[in-house]
Symmetry: C2
Subunit: 252 residues, 2 copies
DNA sequence: GCGGCGCCTTGACACAGATCAAAATTAGAC
DNA sequence: GTCTAATTTTGATCTGTGTCAAGGCGCCGC
């Protein structure tokens, strides 16, 4: 539908890394203006995707990394019993598809949770210019390393934490990431369903729902459908007795 | 203690990537001989570490990546309640410390489980030559990507799998990795304690022990302390009904 | 505005695995 | 070799969550 929409096409062409408010979180972080321009030339910014559309599916051949520009993305692995495992949620400035570099085939699928625009970075061409722009190479390794550290924090969460701790950690991670993007860290809307949250946190939907209700009864926050208002961030934080050096938040 | 041991020193100096049977799994994979030599010149091979010694601790400043040469390494995050979360076990040819690139500080600690020798790769210098040797850069990204995919498989395991599935997956992962290193995939010794296995798999020690007993009663394998003999690999594999495209095995 | 559908919430119950307790086995120190 | 501490195994009980079932609510299409 949007393919015929001139307004959107024009808008998406106009945007460049240099103008993008996310550049301090994203791939171009720390790049010279000239190098940013080079990055821009080989990057595509397709029309926005609508809720439910895929960036890629499991098994697709890998050729590009995706950076979320606006909206949000869920990455998940389909299990052969028909169910799926949610691997992560990606907010603006975050990358999707890094886990496919080695196998050259996507192991996850990525589906957008709401209207979402992305930048598409063809991996081979990125690699070519990374050889000439060491700070770009460095930034790529940094982003992958951050992703690794984030997943390790998730391993901790799934290995040790109670349902309450898991949900508290999840909400604080979102809060922190929204804050880093200039949004409120105390009020926001969830773009994912309770089902997805439960799947991500290794909990049944019912448990997620019960924990939301409990946190609300305790006065820590209020929930109205997708809308979350955190009244007492400090109490939410005090619920995670896991390592304080590690944060599940992905953002810097 | 070994620092005064001439024999060990001489032995460790003699080894180079070109002579190393692990080079097809490790950093030098796919490198030209000349580039391998360059890698060798900036790499250190310190004396072997003895059981319980640390490669680094959480909070240490990051400057090197470690490649396991022989033995095995456990990486773990200390929780501030005194307990720890085991993040992974590393066999020869595998890298440790990749998650610290972005924060420039180790988030995990790494401790050797038995007498272990490693190669120490100073990250800054590796990065310098990676700019000139694209295949090295590529290989680094590949190894990090593989690590990411592996941790995602672990997320699946911890999010969905039963105790039996977790242990079966763990044993098959070890078997596969031993095989790739030229060892038996049906008989091997565990270098880690039941406690560490449980911690890694998100299970209590007692549960791990019970599952070992169960698998033995079922005739799938026999356990004698650290020694494992897998009698029926096929039945072990049939226990994991998670996604077959994804393996928790780290090796290629 | 009404009806149907999907998502979310709540309740009742069951069970896998945690926890507590204690015995058995092994490893290390001397 | 003996003693002591650590690890592992086994048993008994308890509990947090999963599962099943039903009902409520909001959204969308007509």
């Amino acid at each position: 539908m949007a393919s015929g929409n001139k307004l959107l096409d024009v808008a998406s062409v106009r945007v460049a890394c240099g103008d993008c408010s996310l550049s301090k979180l994203c791939v171009p972080m720390g790049l010279e203006a000239a190098d940013m321009d080079r990055l821009d030339t080989l990057m595509k910014r397709p029309r926005p995707l609508r809720r439910g559309e895929h960036l890629f599916r499991a098994g697709d051949r890998f050729h590009s990394i995706y950076a979320v520009r606006s909206g949000s993305v869920k990455s998940y692995t389909p299990c052969h019993d028909g169910s799926e495992q949610v691997i992560g949620f990606h907010l603006p400035g975050e990358l999707v598809g890094l886990d496919a570099i080695e196998s050259e085939e996507h192991v996850c699928a990525a589906r957008v949770l709401e209207t979402t625009s992305v930048c598409v970075l063809p991996f081979d061409r990125i690699q070519e210019i990374a050889c000439e722009v060491p700070s770009l190479q460095r930034q790529f390794l940094r982003l992958m390393s951050k992703e690794l550290a984030h997943e390790e924090a998730m391993l901790m969460l799934l290995g040790k934490a109670s349902a309450e701790e898991r949900l508290a950690t999840f909400l604080l991670s979102l809060a922190q990431r929204f804050k880093a993007r200039g949004f409120s860290e105390t009020e926001f809307n969830l773009s994912m369903s309770r089902h997805d949250i439960g799947n991500y946190l290794g909990l049944a939907v019912e448990t997620v729902s019960r924990m939301f209700s409990k946190l609300q009864e305790d006065g820590v926050l209020s929930v109205h459908r997708k809308n979350i208002r955190i009244h007492e961030p400090a109490r939410l934080r005090s619920m995670l007795r896991l390592d304080e050096n590690r944060s599940v938040a992905r953002c810097g």
